[in-house]
Symmetry: C2
Subunit: 307 residues, 2 copies
């Protein structure tokens, strides 16, 4: 079913699977706006922490299982992940599906970055697990695939007929997703696949460039994620938000600075991720290089600011 | 604030002004999808009945006031009205605002049909009442004005800063209304005003044609509404839904039939409006004429079907 962006697909999914007060388990850090959709649907997100030290791998099943209770209606994953770039393996997904089946809950996977997998990593869609098809919901969107952000065309894919019947009611209430942009999206589908091969190659090379550059900056810890176009980096600062504010207000390198996304708000657990930031590598390498140089100089100036 | 159609503007308004279980008073019959938005926001719509015999005028203030209680957060009007075509007068709005002020609640007016007022009727926007500006929310949209249905660009207009701050949070969660269609909407605003003068003239003439044609059909009661492009007609049948089904399944006139919108679902009060249908006069006169002929023949066949 076509939705007004992946955003509406997530909102409709939460509204359909949950009553107010129900719970959905989600690995943190996660895309912050899911919190807002959960608030709108009066659903409680229950975080399970994935860690930079583990390259943000899916936490052990026993950690997820501990969180399941009668109010739990689904586990929500994003793969390739925003904000960590982690790509969940076929085995990860299979194990999670087994857990979902055991407790009779849904597995929702946001796959909007599915084309962007690097190092030969093969993406496994949740839709390929025939055996579990009735408890699977896939969220997708055109905006990342064809750089159509702003055009609000997403979709919900499920083989669960009741789920589709229920979400259809929410769809009918708001009449339709944007018409003109649906036509544009249909046209985008005729794009030659070589386009995505090129785009993927370019992102992979930007990722390599960015990770190498960040690794040279003293005190910065990061991972080399296999998908999407984000990196979580841990900085040698106590409070990344304060540092980000410093960069914007009190610092420049040749009249330029960088704006960082502090990662703390990607975590639902209080106090985690305060030293982390999310960096998107959507710029070209020249700009990425300047940004990392600026970040390095900013870190130095920030450390010396009280001296 | 720009929204994804008038639909989202209505949903955001209900979510912002109300907590779950709160109430909003609305004259019935009303646009059915408001029910769906209210369900989504877990808001209870409390209907006050307007009647065909009164040309669907706003019910007396004392009827509205009786329904106000501590859970009431707003009165919601649509003017010109979908589905009745009624246009609320300046005095109606002023009286309603006084009532809202007395009970410290909001007045929300859906004005998406504001250009379509006939017989020289002057449209009064709720935004013209300066004195009450802090309790007023106006819902608007491009789709009717420029025949852009499908392009999802609407808006919320209010001078209440807290309301705008709160709805902005809902807006930010879903990122943006459709981008390409916002550009189209901005371009539509440069349309020469003579376009709307012509469109209005055409609709007025279609309304006159339709009302005259309907009045000639035996047993049909209707009004001559002063706005929008809808008419509620009462038919000489017990159950308009059953009749509409009959027209689609078991009837044709020269291979054609008409599809009617039974009005019962525009009422929240059970059992009202069963004999009524909503007719939109968006077709050209030739087609409208054929449709009314078909309706008249259908009524005759329906009455004789058991004989």
């Amino acid at each position: 079913m076509i939705t007004t962006g992946g955003s509406e697909a997530l909102l409709f999914t939460l509204m359909t699977l949950c009553d107010p007060g129900d719970q959905v388990i989600i690995p943190e850090p996660f895309y912050t706006n899911v919190s807002s959709f959960a608030h709108s649907a009066m659903v409680e997100l229950v975080p399970v922490t994935s860690r930079l030290e583990d390259a943000f791998a899916l936490p052990p099943m026993k950690d997820l299982e501990k969180l399941i209770n009668p109010k739990t209606k689904a586990i929500l994953l994003c793969s390739p992940n925003n904000p960590t770039g982690h790509v969940y393996s076929k085995e990860d997904l299979e194990r999670t599906l087994q857990l979902c089946k055991k407790h009779d809950i849904f597995l929702v996977v946001d796959e909007v970055y599915r084309e962007f997998c690097y190092d030969g990593e093969r993406f496994t869609s949740i839709l390929t697990f025939e055996e579990y098809a009735d408890r699977v919901v896939c969220v997708d969107s055109f905006s990342k695939r064809y750089s159509m952000c702003g055009a609000r065309v997403g979709m919900l894919v499920s083989r669960n007929k009741q789920f589709l019947t229920d979400t259809l009611k929410l769809s009918q209430a708001r009449l339709c997703p944007p018409d003109i942009e649906q036509v544009a999206a249909a046209a985008a589908l005729t794009t030659d696949p070589s386009y995505l091969v090129e785009v993927k190659k370019e992102y992979e090379s930007r990722r390599n460039f960015l990770v190498e550059a960040l690794e040279k900056v003293e005190g910065v810890k990061t991972t080399k994620p296999k998908g999407a176009f984000y990196i979580i980096a841990e900085l040698p600062v106590e409070d990344a938000e304060d540092f980000a504010t410093f960069l914007l207000r009190d610092f420049d390198l040749n009249g330029e600075t960088v704006m960082l996304a502090p990662a703390e708000d990607f975590y639902a657990t209080k106090g985690i991720g305060r030293r982390q930031v999310r960096i998107a590598y959507v710029l070209n390498k020249e700009d990425l290089g300047k940004a990392v140089a600026c970040l390095a100089a900013g870190l130095k100036a920030y450390a010396e600011r009280g001296a």
